[in-house]
């Protein structure tokens, strides 16, 4: 990726990032984060991770951020209440975060200058390459994510339902997932469920 484009994207990401933490309205925060995520997706593509870049935009922005928006609307949350308070926390928090960034910077500066590999496999970053990794080296991990999502769903339902409401758990999608534990549950489906 040409450095100029990187610089632009980087600056944009940082500004949007600050937007996430500075905007008073939570909805604006979500939108700012979505911008960061899209920006990152583009950066991923610039790093030869094309598939991941798209997944980033689809899954993160399309699913997770929407979920956040739903919840904000559901709870009808307005602007941040105690904006002016906790100056000490803000001060020290910012200083500490800056210190952390500085430390990372120091590390990165001192990192050995290994030349990055310029000639990558032809399919680097493609769906096929990603899938091959997932279903061989990371087969177990992949299966675990299905259980992880399952646990998340169970937990989310248990917590989010009304206190006195009768337990309604079984949904067709879920039951399918349960019935095939060892098989591959495709993750977009999983995301949809969690959403």
């Amino acid at each position: 990726m040409p450095i100029g484009i990187f610089m632009f994207l980087a600056a944009f990401a940082i500004i949007a990032g600050f937007g996430v933490i500075m905007q008073r309205n939570p909805v604006h925060c979500v939108l700012a984060l979505a911008l960061v995520l899209i920006d990152l997706g583009v950066l991923f593509m610039g790093l030869d991770a094309v598939t991941l870049g798209f997944l980033q935009i689809i899954v993160y922005v399309g699913a997770i951020m929407v979920l956040f928006l739903f919840v904000i609307w559901l709870l009808n949350i307005q602007a941040d209440p105690g904006a002016g308070r906790h100056l000490g926390l803000k001060l020290f928090g910012s200083i500490a975060a800056a210190a952390l960034a500085a430390e990372f910077a120091a590390i990165i500066v001192h990192a050995p200058k290994i030349r990055e590999i310029r000639t990558l496999p032809a399919d680097f970053g493609t769906v096929a390459a990603l899938a091959r990794s997932l279903f061989s080296d990371y087969l177990v991990a992949f299966e675990v994510t299905s259980v992880l999502l399952l646990a998340a769903i169970v937990g989310a339902i248990a917590l989010a339902r009304k206190v006195s409401a009768p337990l309604v758990l079984v949904t067709p999608a879920l039951s399918r997932d349960v019935s095939t534990p060892a098989s591959s549950a495709s993750d977009p489906a999983a995301h949809r469920k969690s959403a």
């Binding site: 990165i108 091959r132 061989s136 087969l139 259980v147 992880l148 646990a151 937990g155 339902i157 349960v178």
Partner: protein, 500 residues
């Protein structure tokens, strides 16, 4: 290379049967659960118990195996077997003490038990993990299940507050852990643990990325094992959570976190132990001291036990700081074993005192217990003494083993600090005993323990473990040492099959 063959992946199915069993059990509960009233959830609990039992038996069969399967993603050896067994026992005891509790508190049983099992699965994965991503995923599976479990007392605002705090900080911490994994990956070029060890054994001692990476991982694991200053969530989460979940956190989560922590640091980052043992030295001092100091002034037993758990994490970290001692690994494993039984037992007693909707979790609630319920009081006294490190109970022998390892590594001052800390800890442990025995107190009506066989069994298991492991430490020490040796002794690159 456009295609891959499954045959190229080493599927060693047998050793992962326990994991599969637990998963299946969780799902069965999830499926049959909805038809069952919250008051009658004990049946579900029994299913969970059976599942754990089955997994336990299956784990026993896997002992003696020493293989890397799934391309090195899972390391199935005595180390993982040891931890799986401990985790399963902890899970079983947790379930045992949940049966009545869950029914009494009208907690949704299906979700509860399945989450417990999911969490157990995550824990077992952490113990079994052969690469960083499995550890990460195991950790998250466990954590997400436990986040939810902490908030299960829906009517109690403290419960959801605890869940939220735990969750926020946990997610926050996940970022650090993940950053650490990323940096280690960047430095070593792999996330498989054995190659990581091979890589760091060469010339990595001063690689900035590696150092920062292991620093961040230290922080991430430090959070999970509740090391000071990453411990802040612990007391709140412990206090707010349903008590069986607290027990589960104090034992299961901690043991699992240490399983991963130890495997990564002691075994696979062992070659660069000089780069991290100093940090652990400081962490150990802070953790022991702060844990004990604050525990001293607690009036809530769950909170006190939370700080005590922090302090005990400090002792274990002390053992880790003694990485150069050959005994350290075995000592920590042994310590965790004893700690598990003792802590589970203690929480079981706390549960025995509780009644639906009324948490008897203040230390003063134990007042006069020895008169009204001598058995319960005696059990609690044994647990407290063991935690305080009074021989011949498990807590003492564990401490003994740990201290001796640390001295072996030349950490004299650290051990002295630990000894002073132990002396402080005696105060608050004995305070419980004093409340029970020496003070005349409120005659509390405890639901008859005989009517709650699972709970009774949990307490008995705790007592038996605490006493037996202490008086006849020989087999358990042997098991601990050989379990650790199994993880540490595997040739660094005996991975059977790797793609590419």
């Amino acid at each position: 290379m456009n295609q891959f063959t499954l045959a190229a992946v080493n599927f060693a199915w047998l050793p992962i049967l326990p994991l599969i069993a637990v998963t299946l059990g969780a799902m069965v509960i999830m499926l049959v659960g909805p038809g069952i009233d919250d008051e009658d959830s004990a049946g579900l609990g029994l299913i969970a118990l059976m599942t754990v039992l089955a997994a336990f038996v299956l784990t026993l069969f896997t002992l003696g195996e020493n293989t890397l399967s799934f391309g090195g993603a899972l390391a199935l050896d005595d180390y993982s077997g040891f931890f799986e067994l401990v985790i399963l026992v902890a899970t079983a005891v947790t379930i045992g003490m949940s049966l009545d509790y869950v029914a009494d508190e009208r907690i949704a049983g299906a979700e509860y038990y399945s989450l417990i099992l999911f969490a157990a699965l995550g824990m077992m994965l952490m113990a079994t993990a052969g690469d960083l991503i499995i550890i990460f995923l195991g950790l998250e599976t466990m954590s997400i299940a436990v986040y939810a479990l902490v908030g299960f007392l829906r009517r109690d605002p403290r419960s959801s507050e605890a869940a939220l705090k735990y969750f926020l900080l946990g997610a926050f911490s996940t970022g650090f852990l993940l950053y650490g994994i990323a940096l280690v990956y960047g430095a070593t070029g792999t996330i498989r643990l054995d190659p990581v060890r091979a890589a760091v054994a060469t010339d990595m001692a001063s690689n900035p990325l590696l150092l920062m990476g292991l620093g961040m991982m230290l922080i991430g694991f430090g959070f999970k094992v509740a090391a000071v200053p990453f411990h802040m969530w612990t007391p709140d989460a412990y206090e707010g959570a349903p008590t069986p979940v607290t027990a589960f956190m104090a034992v299961g989560v901690k043991v699992a976190a240490f399983a991963g922590f130890l495997r990564i640091f002691l075994v696979h980052l062992g070659p660069v132990s000089a780069q991290w043992s100093a940090v652990l030295w400081v962490l150990a001092v802070l953790t022991m001291s702060v844990g004990n100091l604050i525990a001293l002034v607690q009036s809530n037993i769950k909170r006190m036990l939370a700080y005590s758990a922090i302090a005990h994490a400090g002792y274990i970290i002390l053992g880790m700081a003694a990485a150069s001692s050959h005994q350290a690994g075995g000592a920590i494993l042994y310590y965790l074993l004893g700690y598990s039984f003792t802590t589970l037992g203690a929480f079981a007693v706390v549960i025995a005192l509780e009644r639906a909707g009324e948490a008897r979790d203040r230390i003063s609630d134990f007042r006069g217990l020895a008169r009204t319920h001598p058995g319960l009081a005696a059990a609690m006294a044994i647990f407290m003494l063991s935690l305080a490190g009074v021989p011949p109970l498990a807590g003492f022998v564990g401490k003994f083993y740990l201290f001796s390892a640390a001295l072996n590594a030349g950490l004299v001052w650290l051990v002295i600090i630990a000894a002073l800390n132990s002396a402080i800890s005696v105060y608050y442990y004995t305070r419980v005993i004093v409340e029970m025995y020496a003070r005349e107190g409120n005659e509390i009506d405890v639901k008859r323990i005989g009517a709650r066989p699972a709970l009774l069994l949990s307490i008995v298991a705790g007592v038996a473990g605490t006493v037996l492991i202490g008086i006849f430490p020989q087999p358990y020490m042997g098991a601990s040492a050989s379990a650790f040796a199994a993880a540490a002794g595997r040739p660094a690159l005996k991975t059977t099959a790797m793609l590419r």
